[in-house]
Amino acid sequence: MSTPHMIAPRTPRGREQAAPADRQLDLLPLPSKEEEAAAAPPSAPPAAAEPALAPAMAVPDGSAAAPPKRRATAEQMAQKQREISISEFFTKNRHLLGFDNPSKALLTAVKEAVDNSLDACEEAGILPEVRVEIGELPGGRYRVAVEDNGPGIVKAQIPKVFGKLLYGSKFHRLKQSRGQQGIGISAAVMYGQLTTGKAAVVVSKTGRGRPAHHFEIQLDTRKNAPVVLRDEEIPLEKDHGTRVEIELVADWLHGQRSLTRYLEQTALANPHAAFTYLRPGAEAIVFPRASSEPPKEAVEIKPHPHGVELGALMLMLSESKARGLGAFLCQEFSRVSSRLADEICDRAQLPRTRRPSSLDRAQAEALHRAIGETRIMAPPLSCLSPIGDELVRKGLINFLSVTEADAPDPEAGGGAEEPGRGRGGAEAAEERAPDEPPDPEVARIKGQTFFIATVTRPPRVYRGNPFQVEVGLAHGGNWPADRPIELYRFANRVPLLFQRSACGMTDAIVKTDWRNYLLSQPKGALPVGPMVLLVHIASVWVPFTSESKEAVAHYPEIIKEIQLAAQECGRKLAAHIRRRQHADYEAKRRSIFELYIRELAHSLHGLTGRPEDRIEKKLLALAKGFTGGEEDGRPERVENEEGEEPPARAPSPPEDEAE
């Protein structure tokens, strides 16, 4: 097996290891209908609403005769009712942020920091150089450090960025970025603090000649506010960048696999970035940059009118400083000209001069409906920054090269026996190579042949949000041909490692009929074959199913685009497989004929006494003419070797007759 650890664990042992994270996560999203029904039978009052009036628990089943005794009054309860801070909420519901268990915590902490680094570099137009360090400490603790060469963070912001949940620069704008909620890194800080009591250490420098700031930050969970334990200036050699260190309790043994996968796949989707990964007990991994071309800058856009929900619209109306409705529509939204604003106002039967904040609920609703009924140009697509065909391809090649060079996975069960099979395939490819037309989509990596195809779809819109889908596949090598393909999901260049089955991207791939593209596919499952499939969705707002950003919601527009891209890639793959099958067939055919010719020549010599090599030569010359499996047509041109005896005009008598 070529890339043992990038492939989802397949050995029974590997499966056990990966399972806890996956399994627990799959339970996460909203309880299923059945669960809800079980928790609250339709007839019973909602348990939380009137706990005091519904003491069903205290009464043994069937003995409802005794009148229930009141236990708490509304006043008593009022004493307990108070605001819950966002940090308190997430402390209890840490799984929502991806910190459900110690093996996953490691990955989530690294991921939040790395995503931020890549975002910051991209925004600043810097080619990222990211260093990830995991250090082992006594007592099941680990120190996670992520350092970048990004623009840095100004001193005043550092405490809030790392010590306050829901604080960030990306939530209030519409622009493609990895982070979007303003929770990520502070959640990691909070988790570290909860499990070890230690503060996070942040060092950041914003430019040459400026001082680097060294902070030690904790998070006051009651108030959801930062507590700065230390703040000092230190000398730092590099010009700019940020380093964050978090100590946390983690399960390295079980967590390392997904961490490596995350970094590999992040490198794959960010070919412009370089990564160094230092880890305990194993060699460092370096992912070099595959392209020195920074991604196209994603431009911030205003929301598209068709994407706004009524509540959001009402909020915007109440907060707007615009003097009239017409101006409000033009200023707050993209693609609304003043003529179009007039049209919307007319349709809503509201004057365009009306002060936005004066609209009541019914009028806001009328406006919302009018927006929905008006034809509006699709949102500008400059806000998207897909990876691009060429870079997906480079990323895949780079990925295949690096992951291969990496230490073999000791758990790659059948690994030992597979190289033989694979090498055989590679040799066959080599043999074929001379007379096979060069296939630009075929890459030879580490002695193995891979077919690579990529498709970038034109941008589309779901609920007013532009998005774009890319699909890339690598097929071949000596990957096992009888196992499901590897599906790598990405959203805004961030790999999604968990909740695979809950994800709309998986669904789109499973529902694509890959048998059309010469792969086998069990019903309702991923196709089977030696293939890695990459699916990337780029959007200003990726509809995740939860805050941990692990699965994409099932929007039909998105699913359809993914399928179209997959089909396009699939067609390329099918053409390639067909070409290969044909080439294989031809090569096999030719070599088999050569063997048979040798045999036949020998037998004919034994029977006729004619020279064996002459017969063989004749047959070989003939073989060239008979191509393509035709039955008994004459070859176009028969090459009779110069100076050869004329065709058996005077057969020499068999020896026996001479007796």
Partner: protein, 364 residues
Amino acid sequence: MDATSRKTTQKLVKLAEDVVAQASAGRNPAVEVPTRSLANVRFNEKKRIIELGGDKQKRLFFNVAQAKKFMQTFLVGAACRELIAEGKTTSIRDLYYLTKHTLGKTKQNTFEEQEESDPIIEDLEVTVDALREELHLFASNKGNLVGEITLVDSGDTIDARRMGSGGWGVPSIVEADVIQFKRHEAKFVLLVEKDAVFRRLNEDRFWKKHHCILIHGGGQPPRGVRRLVHRLHDELSLPVYVLVDNDPWGFYIYSVVKQGSINLAYESMRMAVPRARFLGLSSFDKERFGLPDNVTIQMTEDDERRGKQMLAYPWFEQKPWRREIERMLKSGVKLEIEALSSMGISFITDEYLPKKLREGDWLE
């Protein structure tokens, strides 16, 4: 080298020369192999034997599906030519090992198993129109003979009355140049399907009491046994009786003895005994002889399918045969010859066969 051998050699060489000539002329080398399949056999109503039709199949060398067989045909041809030249004869199993070898540096062999080489031999026989024996080949020996006859086998005189419990082993090649009949008192030939039944009858000296020649072919009788029975019938005018199990396979064996097999249809002329008589076991024997119920065996799906196929054979067209087969299918059970032992160990010798022969209770 005798005339037959010379002639056979010429036929083989000609086949090879044709191929060389075709190759030299830039044509795809081809040999024409008479088709040995059900579609190309005819039941000759007059002679009442299965005959090979005139269909031929072109076997091309430059054809992915046929190249291997083509190569194999000449591999066997060359081996046979050598055998003839050296004056040696060998079994078809030996020939398989003789011609089997690895192709180049692959894992493929010229032949993977004997099942692959046997049909090639048969192909060669029909293609050059030579008998297996003329190619100096024989099938495995299987089948024994005892009874009231003295014959010569490769110069040795064999008194078949004094062959002990096992009998004389019938060789594969029983042509007149190898086997000559010297003297006999036999009135008929009894061919039984099974060795065990043969031993029982031999121990009881059935052949002595009833003046016959007793032969078994160990299931489907091999070519040597069939050819010998044919000769005994033809040259000594002895009627031939066949005793087989009451099941589709037994009936099939009888039918092969009688009119030849589809596979070796080209040899029916010298093998088949169209007037061979089916003595038993009949589907009605169980009742007639009052055999107990517990001796029957349930028919399998295969048996049933085979039985139904047989109803379509032209030689089982006559009413009594239909009754036999339909009765068997309807009862859903089959009966082995050994089932007769349930009536006593020598019931078959003392009662069953004498009664059948006496009463003329057979089918033709």
